[in-house]
């Protein structure tokens, strides 16, 4: 009897292993085909319009090895906008969300503004903010905050209203103070909502910082992109795109990981 079960388990495990290998094989083969096709198309088209991966790779190595370190400089410039803007937006967004989730009056005072700002595409505010704040890093940080704050605040509000209904009464009946209620009950329970908002906000912040760098003053990775495109250096144009893709993927993975590990901690 146990023998049979063991056998079945072993067979199942072997099947899984086979599927795992098949999966890896498919991923590798697809990547090779994709790169070969890109190379072929890239070599056959006018270099003003497209670049094969070999040329992109060369441009990448050149940019990294560049003694003036322009790429590194651009990356740091972009990060110096993105990181403070995003942290500020997350902090303010959660605070705004908590306020609107816990107080009905605050909710009705602020909700019209959140609705209005949520529906204005934030990039459309760049021209007017340019008049008010002037060209510079402050403007870019403000734009990033405006782009990222509302997904966080809206999700926090929804999450807090959702969990408040279930958890507040029991916690109150156990004599929890208002502060304990917020930090130990409401925020942890609303965390999945907040994390979803932060993930959305990251994508928006990244998009907005590129547009701001492109539009406001040529700096950072967006500026690099602009310089490469106006001089028709196609291979160089892919370099910031690849870095931005890497940043997006890494940050997305990091938030997902943080979300999972925090959830596990609260569950146990």
């Amino acid at each position: 009897m146990t023998d049979n079960i063991d056998k079945a388990l072993a067979a199942e495990r072997a099947r899984f292993r086979r599927l795992g290998w098949e999966r890896r094989l498919i991923i590798v083969v697809t990547l090779i085909v994709f790169l070969l096709a890109w190379e072929l198309v890239g070599r056959l088209t006018n270099p003003m319009f497209f670049a094969p991966p070999s040329a992109v790779f060369d441009a990448f190595v050149h940019a990294v090895a560049d003694p003036e370190a322009r790429l590194l400089h651009a990356l740091l410039q972009t990060l110096s906008i993105l990181v403070p803007g995003f942290l500020l937006a997350s902090f303010l967004g959660v605070a705004l969300g908590v306020l609107m989730g816990r107080s009905n009056i605050a909710y009705h005072i602020l909700d019209p503004y959140v609705t209005i700002f949520y529906n204005i595409p934030r990039v459309a505010l760049i021209p007017i903010l340019l008049l008010w704040i002037g060209i510079g890093d402050t403007l870019k940080i403000v734009i990033v905050v405006l782009a990222a704050i509302f997904p966080v605040s809206v999700n926090t509000t929804v999450g807090i209203r959702d969990v408040s209904a279930q958890f507040v009464e029991p916690a109150r009946s156990m004599q929890a103070t208002e502060r304990q209620l917020l930090w130990q009950v409401i925020l942890p329970a609303a965390f999945p909502f907040i994390a979803a908002g932060i993930k959305l906000a990251l994508g928006r912040a990244l998009t907005t910082v590129i547009v701001a760098e492109y539009f406001v003053s040529v700096s950072g990775l967006g500026g690099l992109l602009q310089q490469a495109s106006t001089t028709y250096q196609m291979a160089l144009m892919f370099v910031p795109v690849i870095i931005l893709a890497g940043m997006g993927i890494a940050v997305d993975a990091a938030v997902t990981y943080a979300e999972r590990s925090l959830l596990r901690r609260y569950r146990s």
Partner: protein, 272 residues
């Protein structure tokens, strides 16, 4: 006994009505503060920085009457609707393939996920080199931004419905056509709508950026023109119109969702 109950219900209803009126009053007061503040600030600031609220209203009336606004809005809507239609078509096909065929999922998922996390707006210079400066690159950039939430949501829909609904249908002898028509389609409509809602917001960003950086047409072009002429009163007209378009399209999607799939209690949307 019953009269007491009726009395209690009446009091409860009156209380609720009072709360609703109070909330509405708070909202109106809140917005009034903004508009009055805008008017006062505009009165004391030079015109090149901020025009008072009434000047923007006059600008709105004037731009509506002389047709400028309508023409620009029509141009923008053309691009947005075409872009969203392409996104829907491409997104549904790819999402269904990813969800239905494991091998296709393995092969394509890294690229789809990677591009979803990438700020695809960075591809704008490449897109404009390939597609020129007029309508085509704008539609392309809208698609590049809007297609991924649709793919991801359709995929999530197909995977979640998975075995739970599929197996009974198969065991009762449903054909592939019946399965796709009667099982898959109804089950993924809420997911499709959730994806579309995200796509609208991202598509509008793509539209505006496209109109900023390729040939300056539509509402985005109007905005850039007024900004470079320091026409601060006129500037708010395209901004407000874009907000109304965004709000209108999102409401339309929510309405369609309730109308087509009323059985599915729409999940509170986690942001747009």
């Amino acid at each position: 006994m019953t009269t007491a109950l009726i009395e209690a219900a009446k009091i409860e209803a009156a209380k609720r009505r009072w709360t609703r009126r109070r909330n509405l009053a708070i909202r109106i007061a809140s917005i009034s503060v903004l508009l009055i503040g805008w008017e006062v600030a505009g009165f004391f600031t030079p015109r090149i920085f901020l025009a008072p609220f009434h000047a923007s209203i006059f600008a709105l009336v004037q731009l509506t009457l002389d047709g400028t606004l309508l023409k620009a809005a029509f141009n923008s809507m053309k691009v947005l609707v075409a872009g969203l239609a392409f996104s829907l078509l491409i997104g549904v096909v790819i999402g269904l393939l990813l969800g239905r065929y494991r091998r296709f999922d393995w092969a394509a998922a890294p690229y789809v996920n990677g591009l979803y996390a990438t700020p695809t707006i960075a591809l704008l210079p490449i897109v404009s080199l390939w597609f020129g400066l007029y309508t085509a690159p704008k539609i392309a950039i809208v698609v590049l931004l809007a297609v991924f939430p649709i793919i991801k949501n359709i995929y999530a829909g197909v995977v979640t419905l998975g075995q739970e609904l599929m197996e009974p249908a198969v065991s009762m002898g449903a054909s592939e056509l019946q399965i796709s028509h009667k099982v898959v389609a109804p089950a993924i409509i809420p997911f499709l709508m959730a994806g579309l809602r995200l796509a609208v917001g991202r598509g509008i960003v793509g539209l505006v950026v496209g109109e900023f950086f390729t040939a300056q047409t539509g509402l985005g072009g109007l905005l850039v023109r007024y900004a470079s002429d320091f026409k601060t009163a006129e500037m708010f007209v395209p901004i407000a119109t874009l907000a109304v378009i965004g709000y209108g399209l999102t409401s339309l999607v929510i309405f369609l969702e309730r109308w087509i799939a009323p059985w599915k209690e729409s999940e509170r949307d986690l942001g747009v």
